[in-house]
Symmetry: C2
Subunit: 332 residues, 2 copies
Amino acid sequence: MSEADKKLTHTMADVAKAAGVSKSTVSRAFTQPYRLTAETVERIIKIAEDFGYVPNHTARALSTGRHGNLALLVSDVANPFFPPLIRAAQMEADTADFCVFLGNSDEDARQEDKLIDRFISQVEGLLLVSSRLNAERIQVHARRRPLALINLDVPGVPRVLIDSATGVRDAMSHLADLGHKRIAYVSGPQNSWANRQRRNAVRLAARKYDMTVEIISPAIPSYDTGRAVVPQLIESKVTAAVAFDDLTAQGIMTGMAERGIEIPRHFSLVGCDDVLGAATYPSLTTVSNRSDEAGRAGVRLLLDIMDGRMAGDTRLVLDTHLVVRHTTAPPL
Amino acid sequence: MSEADKKLTHTMADVAKAAGVSKSTVSRAFTQPYRLTAETVERIIKIAEDFGYVPNHTARALSTGRHGNLALLVSDVANPFFPPLIRAAQMEADTADFCVFLGNSDEDARQEDKLIDRFISQVEGLLLVSSRLNAERIQVHARRRPLALINLDVPGVPRVLIDSATGVRDAMSHLADLGHKRIAYVSGPQNSWANRQRRNAVRLAARKYDMTVEIISPAIPSYDTGRAVVPQLIESKVTAAVAFDDLTAQGIMTGMAERGIEIPRHFSLVGCDDVLGAATYPSLTTVSNRSDEAGRAGVRLLLDIMDGRMAGDTRLVLDTHLVVRHTTAPPL
DNA sequence: TTATCTTATGCAACCGGTTGCATGTCAAGA
DNA sequence: TCTTGACATGCAACCGGTTGCATAAGATAA
């Protein structure tokens, strides 16, 4: 073994030689151990471990056509919506012994196309999250490799969708139960599918519970936007608000605190996306987004498709629910 | 060409046959066209395009050993410290036409080893961020592939370090100026390089400014940890605390608020890493982390080493500074 | 005891490129 | 005209695994 010791990286042939068997046997020890004597397998594994031998992914991929890699493309890694999703997707892939490529499209369709081209020859499947590509491009790529989407609804392409409407309905019901009659919805981007979905859910529920709704439409959702919107909220005399996302809600909390208005005693507030955990004071009541579950489900869906265990046009909808914490209370 | 038309995917041999040349010539048409007649190259390229032929990444990697891939391993994707770093690293790699594998070690050395083994045969370099591996393991891996570290100081291994000591010193000086005499350091993971560095900076500065320091050592830094630690802080009668990270600091803010202790009037608090922006109330005074710059620098360092443009034991230190916001004030 | 079936393992081709060396051609120099 | 060298291209080995088929040994049945 003194000679083997010197090598930085060993091949199957090295292990085979040391074990006194052929390459094929070593290969089988890893891929079809049941075909070998338990004793042989054991000996080979032992030697492989001593050598620190790990089968070469590339060589394996070349002969089998299976790379054991997935590509995960997101629009912005640093947007707090994504990290839990990425984490969950990564770990789910890991349990199936897949490696994942991460791509950051930077909200740019061209960049996304470029990354897909770069990944495609070394992955068995693609998972696109909040893709900016149009349906046509998506379908082109889907024809080349198994492909799944998260947060984009393209017919014929397997996809996981997060239905925030259900959670927003819960929130409205919760506010109605507490006795609120006049509420505000602090809107997100006008062209956002999620925003339309949430706003409509608010409107519908308001009608059902006989509440009035004030729609406040700042340009971009952010912490600063939330702070800036507080005077309008006060002026409109509403007793509660549903914000497009948690960041906006957090801004509203600050704005209220700065004016000495106590949440939830004087004002009730609900966020969306649950990206802050319980990390505000008081902790924010919000609509879960389940982005981690979406990530997990996306990977599983993709793996299922790759194995042909699932139809190609599966449409998986995750509903959301209200996470009641401490920013809602009956109106004064 | 009617026969070629039928194939889904073409190989170099197909193109060679159609062009009436050998495989080698086709290969050279793509990799060293200057060695061939312009006319030959042109003919081959034309046919390749007609066929929709694209060289197989895997086969190429097998023979050249160049995959054009990097591995990025972090301890927890969802920890807000990492996403900006990941994003920056990914985009930096992208400009050099590299794909990046993302691994999540989940703060577990064994998992990290496993992921490295899985990646190693298909990457040209490894970038480990806040690795939990010991120096010995790191060196073993570094011998197998070019490897760079972020946030871990192993002699002989190229590394990018974020020197939070400079920022922590600033923080201590700031607290001393305000008149604090007894402060606490709420510790992070015991085996974390950053934690040791911060703790030592606190101790040294305390000696310099003649302050007493209470070290509080919870198991894992998190929001909940911060909340849980508040009783100890109160009991120890300190007037200010420096927390290992912003999450912990945020937890402390909540814990204090729950007990009616106002920050900064009754208690001053400094975080580390600046991952929350101004999004707490009151907004958190903290030490900047520059994690995005670290990510970018790490990738560049790794690429430089791979090209042999840089010595193997480069040690790049990024210093930090204090961002004063609104959680520090003179003691009562 | 011999014929037959199992089972464990080896042989060698193959996946699709790259590359060192060999060969053949043509033009410039002697 | 013959040599020499530059240059374009081909041959075949190689990267490190996988896998269909062959073989030999042991187990079982006749």
